[in-house]
């Protein structure tokens, strides 16, 4: 298993390098530059800024410099947030996004798997229809509609929860953003679980278990759930990476200082180093989570063996 994981990680390096190169050159191809503003800078001052950030060097040299910095865990300075390095920005934003996204995914797994299983076990009953319509609604209503609605009801009208910000870091501030982030995930996971569970419940080994007279609860928990979760686990890899690296919509609406806003603002401001930093970070997380998913397969499916 360890050798497999090491091999996979080493195999991911070329992927990461391609990702880096693509992001590095694409952001520079985009029209406009980091120092463009309403008032054009004096040529001397702009030249000075470009030199300070090494943007006056040939592209291949800049790329080499960037890779060299990366090897030393240096993502470079941010062009936009000039008092911070990109590493510092990521390290400030990521814990918040992780806490928010982690809670949302935990909530989504708990409710999504439970609701999906119930719907599958009671297929074509009212419970099934209720769960499926709720999840369809969850998928259809975008975050930027759901989040303001939650704020309006729970913060403005009822005054139970804060409308935004981190406050003193208390869980109260996290409730609404976590719910807003979790709702679509609950919807997806419940639909995936339902579909897969229905299929598993129809398989021969479950039929055998039932014929042996095992109670339904035991059949589901001990035999059906694990194989039924395989598609959910496949989904979880990239979904978790996406959720814990922050959602720009949720962060902006709730004023949460996560990583997501850096994605968009970095790109809009042509903050090359910030964009690169976030892309690399996200890329590494995706690779790591995909590996975790594959390792989880081995635990869930006895047919899968890694050596």
């Amino acid at each position: 298993m360890f050798r497999y994981a090491t091999r996979r990680l080493l195999g991911a390096l070329p992927t990461l390098l391609i990702l880096l190169a693509l992001a590095f050159f694409l952001i520079r191809v985009a029209p406009g530059g980091p120092f463009d503003a309403e008032r054009a800078l004096l040529p001397e001052i702009e030249a000075n800024l470009r030199a300070a950030y090494h943007l006056d060097e040939p592209l291949y040299q800049q790329f080499g410099r960037y890779l060299w910095g990366l090897l030393q865990a240096d993502f470079g300075p941010s062009f936009q947030y000039r008092d911070f390095s990109v590493t510092e920005l990521i390290m400030t934003g990521f814990p918040v996004s992780l806490r928010l996204g982690g809670s949302a995914m935990a909530l989504a797994l708990l409710f999504g798997i439970t609701a999906g299983s119930i719907a599958a076990l009671r297929q074509n009953t009212r419970a099934d229809y209720a769960v499926m319509s709720a999840s369809m609604t969850g998928i259809s209503i975008p975050n930027f509609v759901m989040a303001p609605l939650l704020i309006l009801v729970f913060a403005v009208y009822l005054g139970w929860l804060p409308a935004g910000g981190l406050g003193d870091g208390s869980p109260r501030n996290m409730v609404l953003p976590v719910i807003a982030l979790a709702l679509p995930q609950i919807a997806y996971i419940s639909r995936l679980t339902r579909g897969s569970m229905i299929e598993v419940l129809r398989s021969n080994f479950i039929r055998t278990a039932r014929a042996q007279g095992l109670p339904m609860r035991k059949i589901v928990l001990r035999h059906a759930l694990k194989p039924a979760l395989l598609p959910v686990v496949s989904y979880l890899g990239p979904a978790t990476a996406a959720v814990i690296t922050g959602s720009v919509v949720i962060e902006q609406i709730f004023g949460v200082p996560g990583l997501g806003r850096f994605f968009v603002q970095g790109a809009l401001n042509r903050d090359y180093t910030l964009v690169m930093g976030v892309v690399v970070f996200y890329g590494v997380l995706i690779i790591a989570f995909n590996l975790l998913v594959d390792l989880a397969y081995a635990w869930l499916d006895p047919k899968v063996k890694y050596s």
């Binding site: 947030y81 303001p148 409308a163 981190l166």
Partner: protein
């Protein structure tokens, strides 16, 4: 230099604020109205975007400047109504030729760590602000200072800037030319002092909590990027005795709808703006909280004069400018109290704005003239003008562009294509002047003087995206820059504005307003045209 050679211009308005005997604030706050102060003096601002930096010489944009005004104090400062008053300097003298300023610093002024604020600190700071190594984007603010431009360009060493300390508390600044608005420039963050030992010790990390030593009414306590900036009272500030607010919180509030929700949920005392599309709802439901006031800005459409159809066609530009019903734009599209603009310079101090002569006409008369000029330019219903409007992607800009396109279509038959681009792409396209025919833009003045508007359309200005170049206009601007007599200077700038509204390289649409929400118990909020506020002038009433 003998003091007698100076015209004593110690502004006495200043002492009113400095000593406080005759001002409104001499009254115990809340006392006259029978209202008491709240126990907790905490002020919470919605601040738009996240500040790029809190280092006054490296900051860019309004959010950083807002916080900077609480943290730092320049040689001059601003009263709540925006009038320039004494700051770290308690008085000053200006030489007869208007080119030498001598500032007398307050001996009692202290940095937040207790060190005295000295003339050497200002010499260090102005040099640092201009030093190319600081990477400031705002060195142009200091251009009036002798050699400042050459130092910023790296052509001269920083020691050549026209600034020197005569003694611990006397600073002398020499200017290139008479600059009547110079005292106002000293309230800009580019001219704030930084604490030399801290700036030297921490370099790029000077503006971090724990590192930042400041000389304003507040000091930096916390900064969590994208979450908040928390300031607390600077006990060492020379006027701390008259400061009421103990803590100031600035929240980044880019999404105006989300900001409105936070305001309604009671989490903000002042919003940064309002969502324009909800202005009617706000007027109806939050009438007491809504404050709308004039703002130093002009919204306009510019013409690309380097290419047809607008090159060499003043009739066509004028026809398009006249065919726009500005009352409809401000009354039905923007709808937040903006003022229709027929001239370029908004109502700044010591200046009477000039307008297009047609401003006094009825819209019907303007449309009739527009049709005549349109035909004169060679266009007709059979041969309509086909043009395009370029704007940076934003809903408010789109609505204005659509309204104007339909007005042109209706009155003249012009075929208009409306194009939007993301901000940086838009800047790039506009700069190239190839695809652009008409572009939307807005200009917010850097200081309260007509020159900050007039300079935009000087030939070769970094802000002149039209390609407009008028020898007359340039000459009037040059003469105004060198003119010491304020009245004559204003006349020259007015003449320049008349040239501009005659040539119409741009089409002014409206003068901006600021619209924000302010809680009824926030005392001391005074709208001003620069929209500059300092938390030290605020207080929270018991509620």
């Amino acid at each position: 230099m003998n003091r007698n050679h100076f015209v004593a211009t110690v502004l006495v308005t200043i002492s009113l604020y400095g000593c406080g005997a005759e001002t409104d604030q001499a009254e115990p706050i809340g006392g006259a109205s029978g209202q008491e102060l709240a126990e907790e003096q905490v002020l919470r601002w919605g601040n738009g975007a996240e500040p790029g930096s809190l280092d006054p010489h490296r900051t860019q944009g309004v959010p950083g400047s807002n916080i900077g005004r609480d943290l730092f104090e320049g040689l001059t400062s601003e009263a709540p109504d925006g009038t320039v008053i004494a700051g770290a300097a308690e008085s000053w003298e200006i030489s007869d030729d208007g080119r030498t300023y001598r500032f007398f610093l307050r001996p009692e002024a202290r940095w937040s760590n207790g060190d005295p604020v000295t003339a050497d600190d200002f010499v260090y700071s102005l040099r640092r602000s201009l030093d190319p190594a600081t990477l400031s984007n705002y060195t142009f603010i200091l251009n009036p200072i002798l050699n400042a431009e050459a130092v910023a360009a790296g052509e001269l060493p920083t020691t050549e800037v026209g600034v020197r300390a005569l003694d611990t508390h006397t600073l002398e600044i020499q200017l290139e030319n008479t600059t009547p608005y110079f005292l106002g420039l000293l309230t800009h963050s580019a001219s704030y002092p930084v604490h030399p030992p801290s700036a030297e010790a921490h370099g790029n990390q000077y503006a971090r909590p724990g590192n930042l030593v400041s000389n304003g009414a507040y000091r930096l306590e916390e900064w969590v990027v994208q979450s908040h900036v928390k300031l607390v009272r600077n006990e060492n500030y020379w006027d701390n005795g008259r400061t009421t607010i103990d803590e100031v919180w600035y929240y980044p509030t880019e999404d105006q709808t989300a900001e409105l929700s936070r305001f309604r949920a009671g989490e903000l005392d002042l919003s940064n703006a309002i969502p324009k599309r909800q202005v009617d709802w706000i007027r109806e439901n939050l009438p007491e909280e809504l404050v709308i006031s004039p703002y130093l800005g002009t919204y306009y459409f510019g013409f690309n004069l380097t290419r047809p159809p607008f090159q060499d066609s003043p009739e066509l530009r004028r026809a398009l400018a006249l065919a726009v019903d500005r009352d409809i734009i401000t009354g039905q599209v923007t709808n937040a109290g903006e003022v229709p603009a027929y001239g370029w310079v908004p109502p700044v101090q010591n200046y009477a704005g000039q307008q297009m002569p047609e401003a006094a006409w009825t819209q019907e008369e303007r449309v009739a003239e527009a049709r005549r000029l349109y035909a004169l330019a060679g266009y007709s219903e059979e041969n309509p003008l086909r043009t395009r409007i370029l704007y940076n992607t934003q809903e408010d800009h789109r609505r204005i562009a659509v309204a104007i396109a339909s007005m042109w279509k209706q009155t003249l038959g012009v075929e208009v294509e409306i194009l939007n681009q993301e901000w940086k792409v838009f800047l790039d396209t506009r700069q190239q002047k190839i695809e652009t025919e008409i572009y939307r833009s807005g200009w917010i003045g850097d200081y309260n003087d007509a020159y900050t508007f007039a300079e935009l359309f000087a030939s070769g200005s970094g802000l002149n995206h039209t390609g407009y170049s008028s020898p007359d206009y340039d000459r009037l601007l040059r003469e105004a820059s060198a003119e010491g007599d304020m009245k004559r200077r204003a006349e020259l700038l007015q003449q320049a504005e008349r040239v501009l509204v005659e040539d119409l390289p741009i089409m002014p649409l409206y003068f901006y307003v600021t619209a924000r929400l302010v809680r009824p118990w926030v005392g001391g909020f005074t709208p001003n045209i620069m929209d500059h506020h300092r938390s030290q002038n605020f207080h929270i009433l018991k509620h």
